[in-house]
Amino acid sequence: MRHHIVLSVILLITLAGVSGTVFAQGGMFATAGGNTRFSSETPMENIYAENKKTQVLLNTGTAEIAIRMNMRDFVFPNKLMQEHFNENYIESDKYSTATFSGKLDQRIDFTKDGTYDASATGSFTVHGVSKNRTIKGKLKVEGGKMVISSDFEVTLVDHKIDVPQIVFVKIAQSIKVKVEYILSPYKK
């Protein structure tokens, strides 16, 4: 038993060291000005909003990716809708951010320019509810920059976002999301 503990400790130190080096060695790419848009489309009306301050970090060494955005940074053309989005639907005082934390599913040569079909699997959190999801998109490597783009949908019930019957506004049950993130080399 003692033998096992000693072994475990050695393993722990080694692993921590290895993961530490990988973390440090892998090129880090980031943006604080990523563009996340969404739309709710119904025959009655269409609602759009845009967040131009999405933060993204990609570790090319581990293929890990993290995305974070403030819900309050979503801008609607109609400010009343924006207020309702924050106050009544997304409850941004309680659940201030949406995040994705995961890993790319493909091995991509980040040193070679080109456009790659890619997907990332990980934890997607909106309105305080986390879902394990695989999100497909494209990754373009171009002149030392990474461009990540993706189209996907978020279903309101999945994230416990209530739309009550008394509301006159028609909101789609599934929200279309479109993202474009241009990442540059990141220095801590």
Binding site: S8, L11, A32, F76, K79, H84, N88, I166
Partner: protein, 300 residues
């Protein structure tokens, strides 16, 4: 060996988790928006009769229809006040997100009112916290009622004007509770009653308590420094109401002892007394339109 295998699996899980958390943690540093203004201290630009710290946003127009019926104690002959209705129509527009202007027409005294309102300080949360919101309000109202007496016929244009100055100071204490204090100065070039003074100080207190995401109860009280010796028939204005937000419209339903819906009238000239049952049922309907070019198709 089983234990070792478990240890390895556990360690892998821990280290990979650790790395992911680091990445998200690192992201927090990239967040430039660490201070956020507090939004929706009140649902509407009015608490009940009086203004709230809220302003209409840029390129948005708020069309307001406000009604006060007759007194509840007027008996069944008047259907408890419902036979009489007093109206104010208002068009209120946001020049910027912090500055708005408005014009209104009231049945009472056939008064036109013009106002400007500027959000000076915004309550914020986050890195740089400001505990309060402050909005400045200024208004001029003119009565256009045709003279009913010879005395009134000689009233000059200037003497039909009234001015109001307010500092609206509010704090959203929690998701549910917001309170406001409203120091007010009214100046009438010619008061309605002979014994009344031109200048009148008043302090308003107002608040809202949210019952659900879309429904809140509101209360409002304006203490007015009327001259006690002048024996004026005026009372302080007090009102209770409910706000219902349906998305696009805000319905405000309330009971108040004031008939007028502009500051000059409800702060300075409230003759109803809650004690005697001189209470008016009333409602405000607010509908906001966006004139933002991009939102043509995204109308609420």
């Amino acid at each position: 060996m089983k234990a070792l295998r478990h240890a390895i699996i556990l360690l892998f899980a821990v280290t990979s988790l650790h790395a992911q958390n680091d990445l998200l943690g690192e992201l927090n540093k990239l967040d430039s928006n660490t201070t956020m203004p507090v939004q929706a201290t009140f649902k509407s630009t009015r608490i009940i009769n009086g203004h709230s710290v809220e302003t209409v946003k840029k390129n948005h127009m708020d069309f307001r229809i406000s009604h006060r019926f007759g007194r509840l104690n007027s008996g069944s002959y008047q259907l408890y006040g419902l036979d009489q209705a007093t109206l104010r129509l208002g068009f209120e527009y946001g020049i910027s997100d912090d500055l708005m202007i408005g014009v209104g027409r009231s049945t009472e005294q056939k008064a036109f009112d013009f106002f400007g309102k500027y959000r000076l300080i915004k309550q914020t949360t986050g890195a740089r916290q400001i505990p309060l919101s402050v909005t400045l309000f200024g208004s001029a109202a003119i009565r256009t009622l045709r003279p009913v007496s010879e005395d009134e016929a000689t009233r000059s244009f200037k003497n039909k004007l009234t001015y109001v100055y307010q500092a609206l100071i509010a704090r959203k204490f929690s998701e549910r509770l917001s309170l406001q204090i409203t120091p007010t100065y009214l100046y009438r070039n010619l008061p309605e009653l002979a014994g009344d003074k031109r200048g009148l100080f008043s302090v308003g207190l107002g608040g809202r308590l949210k019952l659900s995401k879309r429904v809140s109860v509101n209360a409002e009280y304006f203490w007015a420094a009327h001259d006690k010796d002048a024996n004026l028939p005026y009372h302080d204005s007090m009102a209770f109401g409910v706000d219902i937000d349906t998305g696009g419209h805000v319905f405000q339903l309330h009971f108040t002892n004031s008939l007028g819906m502009i500051e000059k009238q409800f702060i300075g000239e409230t003759t109803g007394s809650w004690g005697k049952g001189d209470v008016h049922y009333g409602f405000n309907i607010s509908r906001t339109f966006s004139f933002d070019k991009k939102s043509k198709r995204a109308q609420y």
